[in-house]
């Protein structure tokens, strides 16, 4: 990658982040830190641009500019002159431990980029699926007709369009660009994890939890290999964290739920597993309807308002471009019932769930026990574990994992092969969210503005 390519890439990444910033800060309450708003701007901007670019492939930058001008106008209308109101755009003082975390984050990013320089076209799924789709979209004006000749043409297109946008801006399909943008999106998730927790938990706990996520070897390698799993994990984390933020700190601010809905929709636009996540978080949000039907429906309405645009794009893609999923093709009633009634499948899957849980991150030393010790000795807030925000997040993760379990029960593929190649990456999807929920279980630190 040349210096000029890097400059173009930086401009393209900055513009999508700026779009994300305007949208995010319009939807979040003012008391949320500007640092968190900026870090959420990365996935929001990438998701928004990917949706725009799918719908308007050729005039993509014209449409992005129009959307940007409109969002900027709304932002100025709400926040006033940004030059006079710097607190709305600058993160403010950062504690020393936050600076140390930033140093480790940058060092790890540079280290992981070393993998991208060696495998600039990605790992197996990276080149065979995601970069193949990106190439097809970038090089073929009739890509919608021809994408069926690639592997898994039914997979959603957030990652390919994220890459195509960069290539279009640079003017060439530069190898390594897809890895760099994948890493930046993944690393925004680590930042978001720390900053979400730092809203109401101690800085030390927030940084330790984010470092545990950051030091998950296979998760990092997968990000560098340009797989779709780590981007999905970031969107799942952000959606769950925003729902928790709403219940904990912003019950008067439905915009937070709208942003959560948008993040969930972007998850569905990233991988088919994200569609299961949309179902899971919707169920978790709707369960309180048995107790508070009106309020619950208002909350869900706000969530759905954010979800609607990405969901509409997903439905449009599935109806007009995507062929049938390989797990759904040529299924018969007798064969499905046979799998459902096979007790061996349940024991094999349960066994794999337990075994993979211990090794999915590829750690030299598993961080679970020392982390558990730190959390228990830092005092668990048992009321939080019974709170709506924590239970909503935990229930969402549980439904996602249960959904994956039933997918394995019904899979037409060889069960052992499917478990060995898929289960560890499915754990990646919820790993940052599980760490978030672990951090949220610790005692709150009173924030000065409340």
């Amino acid at each position: 990658m040349s210096y000029a390519n890097l400059v173009d890439f930086t401009i393209a990444f900055a513009t999508s982040t700026l779009l994300g910033f305007f949208l995010t800060s319009l939807l979040l309450p003012p008391r949320v830190s500007a640092g968190l708003t900026w870090i959420l701007a990365v996935p929001t901007g990438i998701g928004l641009c990917s949706l725009i670019d799918f719908l308007f492939r050729r005039p993509m930058f014209t449409v992005e500019t129009i959307v940007g001008v409109v969002l900027f106008g709304l932002w100025v209308w709400r926040h006033g002159n940004p030059v006079r109101n710097l607190t709305a755009v600058t993160p403010g003082p950062i504690p020393l431990i936050g600076l140390l975390f930033a140093v480790v984050l940058v060092w790890t990013l540079v280290t992981a980029y070393g993998r991208v320089t060696v495998t600039p076209l990605g790992g197996w799924d990276g080149w065979a699926i995601w970069n193949s789709h990106a190439r097809m979209i970038y090089r073929d004006p009739k890509w919608k007709e021809h994408i069926e000749h690639t592997f898994h043409p039914d997979y959603p297109l957030l990652v390919p369009f994220m890459v195509v946008r960069m290539w279009r801006f640079i003017g060439a399909a530069v190898p390594g660009i897809s890895g760099l943008v994948s890493l930046l999106l993944t690393f925004s998730g680590f930042g978001a994890l720390a900053l979400f927790l730092a809203q109401r938990r101690s800085a030390l706990t927030s940084v330790l939890i984010a470092l545990v996520a950051l030091s998950t070897p296979l998760y990092l390698i997968f990000a560098a290999l340009q797989e779709g799993d780590t981007p999905l994990a970031v969107f799942i984390l952000c959606a769950i964290a925003l729902v928790c933020l709403y219940f904990e700190r912003a019950r008067d601010h439905f915009g937070v739920l709208a942003l959560a809905g948008f993040m969930a929709g972007c998850g569905g636009w990233t991988k088919n597993e994200g569609l299961l996540f949309i179902v899971a978080i919707s169920i978790a949000l709707l369960i309180p309807a048995f107790v508070q039907p009106r309020l619950t429906l208002r909350r869900f309405g706000a969530f759905f308002a954010g979800l609607a645009f990405p969901l509409a794009v997903i439905i449009f893609f599935k109806l007009t471009v995507a062929p049938q999923n390989d797990l759904m093709q040529n299924r018969h009633y007798e064969e499905i019932v046979g799998r459902l009634l096979d007790a061996n499948r349940y024991s094999s899957i349960s066994e794999s769930y337990v075994q993979t849980l211990w090794k999915f991150g590829g750690w030299a030393w598993h961080p679970a026990l020392p982390l558990l010790a730190v959390l228990l000795l830092s005092r668990i807030d048992w009321r939080t574990l019974r709170s709506t925000e924590w239970l909503t997040g935990a229930l969402t993760v549980f439904i996602v994992l249960a959904g994956y379990y039933w997918t394995f029960v019904l899979t037409p593929l060889d069960l052992r092969y499917h478990l060995d190649t898929a289960l560890f990456r499915l754990y990646f999807h919820v790993w940052p969210s599980v760490l978030l929920l672990a951090g949220l279980a610790t005692v709150k630190v009173d924030s000065p503005e409340e």
Binding site: V118, L121, S132, L208, L211, L214, S215
Partner: protein, 153 residues
């Protein structure tokens, strides 16, 4: 009671400090492992097979574009195909990598109606005699040969 409470608080505080120190050690040990493991981060200059195959295919793309063929199917055959043998998984992997390199053209197998044929002889580098009904369009001498199907009389 106050003394017990102080001792308890101090003990928990001490244990917490030890647990934090151990967790930090685990975190940095895992990070160090990532940075130092050549399987995770291979050293610069390590050759990636997909990149190699992608580069091998570039002269083929150039030849196809020169022929004015920018969209459509290309048939794929290996030395085993010519010998009428079944294709092992290694052939599948190579085919998949060249298929990626060929985009937006579509590299398919068993397509007797495709106007062009890619001969993949990279396994041993030995180029067989030109099969009947085909003429050589490009031979970049890297184990790949691009053929064109002669129209049937």
């Amino acid at each position: 009671m106050a003394g017990y409470s102080t001792v308890r608080t101090a003990t928990i505080g001490g244990l917490r400090s030890i647990a934090i120190a151990f967790l930090i050690w685990v975190i940095f040990y895992n990070l160090w492992e990532i940075a130092s493991d050549p399987r995770a981060i291979p050293p610069p200059g390590t050759i990636d097979d997909v990149v190699v195959r992608n580069n091998q295919f570039e002269p083929i793309v150039a030849a196809l574009f020169e022929e004015g063929y920018r969209s459509g199917r290309i048939d794929y055959m290996s030395a085993r195909t010519l010998r009428g043998e079944s294709q092992p998984i290694e052939d599948d992997h190579r085919w998949a990598k060249y298929r990626f390199a060929a985009i937006p053209l579509t590299l398919v197998r068993n397509a007797p109606d495709a106007p062009y044929v890619l001969g993949d002889f990279t396994e041993d580098g030995k180029i067989p005699p030109v099969p009947e009904g085909l003429i050589v369009v490009a031979n970049p001498e890297n184990g790949l040969v691009l053929y064109k199907r002669q129209p049937k009389p």
